[in-house]
Amino acid sequence: MDDTNQINEKDKKPVESTHKIGIYLWIWGLLFVLSFFSYMVDWYQFQGMLRWSLILFFMFAKAGLIMAFFMHLFWERYALVNVLLWPMTAIACFVFLMAAEFEYTLFSRMFYFFVGGGA
């Protein structure tokens, strides 16, 4: 078994060094702030594109912070990060196409099933 020699403890986990507590507290605080802002979007009743872009911005910001720091993705090697993120393109494609689909369905229903729609 000597050629499958074990690695000494020091080298075993090269990327898993612990991080300073400050970074966690910072991210924690940021998450509260962002959640508060996204709540404010509803409080002030923003409408239309502004509302949507704000909602999505805060959502992705929060998700990004959680993934990057709490889930340590920021410190992971790109091999793992890429494996995790590329499949999301399939989801993105699915979302875009279903958005087109619901518009079409809604149009069909409004046009053919509601009085005045066919006019």
Binding site: V15, E16, D42, F70, V95
Partner: protein
């Protein structure tokens, strides 16, 4: 800063590192524990589950010609006699983010082999999760009391109730499973299963290690992550 090494293998940074990791033998995710890699892939799969739920919700909500209830009114809560929109949801979000923070710290102390701190933080996370589940149960009972059912609701489109109960229910199930495991792992930490090389499990070959706390942490943060999306699409849309 010199690049770290795994015996005989240079860990290059960035995309060059990705190419060399992928092209190397033995492991592709350098230094990543099997269980952690497995949890990541499982979460990827679970992401697809939640994405499919949310996409279905988008399609369902978008294509119904009946008016969709305004969530900020439906989920309003009376506080001091004034209806505050989304108050309960805001509190739930607060609780979940708090528990996510304690979990992150638990992982940190786990790696530092700080048994006490790690154990207490995992326990705190579990209690946070339990609070969240309790608040969700309250929210459900309130809605049911108001006449919202999976198959109908008095405020508008019937799909509102269906999607609401299904998606929050599925998320709540995830939280509940997480809470159960958090309690188990809190016990395991306190009992010292991860100390001194770890304790071997029953009928298996796995040995305990503090990396399990990180794996559990990944799951818990994922649950929080999903809530971020549900919060945006369900309550703010």
């Amino acid at each position: 800063m010199s690049d770290p090494k795994i015996d005989g293998f240079e860990l290059k940074p960035g995309f060059r590192g990705m190419a060399s990791d992928t092209g190397s033998d033995q492991t592709m995710f350098k230094g990543v524990h099997w269980g952690k890699a497995m949890m990541w892939i499982f979460l990827l799969s679970d992401t697809f589950v939640f994405s499919c739920f949310l996409i279905a919700y988008m399609k369902g909500r978008g294509s119904t010609p009946v008016e969709w209830p305004n969530p900020s009114e439906v989920f309003a809560l009376e506080a001091f006699g004034v209806p505050v929109p989304l108050l309960l949801i805001a509190l739930m979000t607060f609780v979940l983010i708090t528990s996510s923070g304690t979990m992150a710290l638990a992982v940190k102390y786990g790696y530092e082999k700080n048994r006490k701190m790690c154990g207490w933080l995992v326990l705190a996370t579990a209690i946070g999760g339990l609070t969240f589940v309790g608040m969700q149960a309250y929210e459900w009972s309130k809605l049911i009391h108001e006449g919202v059912r999976p198959w109908e609701n008095p405020f508008g489109a019937a799909q509102f109730g269906s999607f609401f109960f299904m998606i929050t229910g599925f998320h709540g199930t995830h939280v509940s499973i997480g809470v159960i495991f958090l309690f188990i792992y809190a016990y395991k930490v306190f009992a010292g299963h991860y100390e001194n090389g770890g304790k071997r499990g029953w009928f298996t070959t796995m040995k305990g290690d503090y990396v399990e706390i990180e794996i559990l942490g990944l799951y818990w943060h994922f649950v929080d992550l999903v809530w971020v999306f549900i919060f945006a699409f369900f309550y703010l849309w």
